[in-house]
Symmetry: C2
Subunit: 303 residues, 2 copies
């Protein structure tokens, strides 16, 4: 199976490297890291053991890659307006397109361009960040919850999941990936948002009682918003407390949106805030705490 990775940031590089390491035919569309990777290969510094791939199939344009069987999309969602330009050259009749991006609306945007039946949605639980060019750091986790855009179908997802699992990437198929998307938003909205706004890591937030209360209340808003979307099984409100407990173990972890802000990149506000707020409002659910954080982040982005 010919695999193309579009958006080779920390997530794309890590999963692509795991797939390549176990012998898959992986092709990376590169930008910042092109020179370093072509010269010295790709280094993964991982909590599961470091490894180095001396020879990577790297390209500067999707046309050089050509048609693939599976396209893995790891672009930052503020670059989603480039889907057509970057992905079209990779798509043939039987190509599957898997977005591992954050937030809501990515599958929809891809389906509109390439057709519902080609699209898979994966929710990635991965702590990673980029080091110097050619180096990616894997700090923890690394699993994927996978589903198809056409709800209830799972044949394509099973096929992709088998490849991932054989490559040492824990991958579970769900007939309702939308629930997984919202479950991840329960964490991403407060922690990505507040860490980015305040430029502080996870443990600094959790050290303040008023902040723990705010995060818990905000998580409950997101759970309520998600449960209004007709999920097959609702998300329990107790997930909020569970996630706070889980987050204690993350110590000074910096969520991706904080890193984006520190490195001067745009923030993924449309998919992590705008789309969930619109989806909730569409079902008559207000998320006032989420809305406030979104407004503050929009103000922060104005610089």
């Amino acid at each position: 199976m010919r695999i193309a990775v579009v958006g080779a940031g920390a997530l794309g590089l890590y999963f692509g490297a795991k797939l390549a390491q176990s012998g898959n035919d992986v092709h990376f569309l590169l930008r910042r890291d092109y020179d370093a990777i072509m010269a010295r290969g790709l280094k993964v510094c991982s909590v599961d053991g470091d490894f180095h791939l001396p020879k990577i199939n790297g390209y500067r344009t999707p046309e050089e890659i050509g048609t693939a069987d599976l396209v893995i999309v790891g672009l930052k969602t503020f670059a989603n307006h480039r889907f057509r330009e970057l992905i079209t050259p990779l798509v043939g009749d039987n190509t599957m397109i898997l977005t591992l991006q954050n937030g809501l609306g990515n599958e929809e945007a891809l389906a509109e361009l390439f057709g519902d039946g080609k699209i898979l949605g994966g929710v990635a639980y991965l702590c990673s960040n980029r080091g110097e060019p050619g180096v990616v750091h894997h700090l923890g986790e690394g699993r994927i919850v996978l589903g198809e855009y056409i709800r209830g179908e799972t044949a394509k997802a099973e096929k992709v999941a088998a490849i991932f699992n054989r490559s040492g990437i824990e991958c579970r198929v769900t007939p309702d990936y939308l629930k997984a998307r919202w479950e991840k938003l329960v964490w991403n909205i407060p922690f990505n948002g507040i860490c980015a706004l305040m430029m502080k890591p996870v443990d600094t937030l959790l050290s303040l009682k008023a902040m723990r209360l705010l995060i818990t209340d905000m998580m409950k808003e997101v759970i309520t918003g998600g449960n209004a979307q007709g999920l097959v099984k609702p998300i329990p409100l107790t997930l909020a407390e569970d996630m706070i407990t889980f987050s204690e173990r993350l110590s000074s972890y910096r969520p991706s949106m904080l890193i984006d802000r520190q490195e001067g990149r745009p923030l993924e506000l449309d998919t992590i805030f705008g789309a969930p707020l619109a989806a909730a409002a569409g079902k008559g659910i207000e998320m006032p705490r989420v809305q406030e954080l979104h407004a503050l982040l929009l103000l922060a982005e104005k610089g």
Copy 2:
């Protein structure tokens, strides 16, 4: 009437200067500005016309001032724990104590120390800030809404208001100063809070649609919280839109809490956020947007 000013920041210096200019016997407790004012007097750069008072009664301790007929308290509320030490030497049998400080809880704290009957509460609408030592800038407004801590009584307030009005300070007496306190909080909570949190002036906030919506919603929370306190007449919800319109005229005004943060001072969070949140909660009213802003400011204060 012997008047003592405790807390000679932008507010205390401005009102004290106006009172002194029109011949009242005013005595200032000074700290930062002592040397400059004793050497060169006090300069007021005002939108109503600059003036200079060459000779000021300035002191370093309240004991040097001694008993006064009227004590005007302009301390930042994070210094309220110093009430006993700073005010006791100024208080005789018939002394009136007027707090012009921000937020809720100041009258209560003074009443506990000096007795209900001595306490007046004034809500100041004043745009001012300190310049170099010995200079205060008056940027706009300058009126006071005045009441007595013992609700319904107005005799003392009328007496003080007469002095202020004779000194060119517009002063209106109300039998329900608590309503005036909450009305000011309707503006202070969102604008002081968000400007300080984001380190941005008023017009930057108003230039963003999502932020105008947030501020309006937050103002409505405060109005609802205030109206639960048994005010004589409720605050209309339309005050929110009116205040947004009014705030358009403030252009790049920096509220006091933003200046406090820029200058590295503590923030007046207890009286502008903590006390109103507690008062609302005491009546069963949630103010989720206010609570979120409070939690974010507490996190910002942790540095």
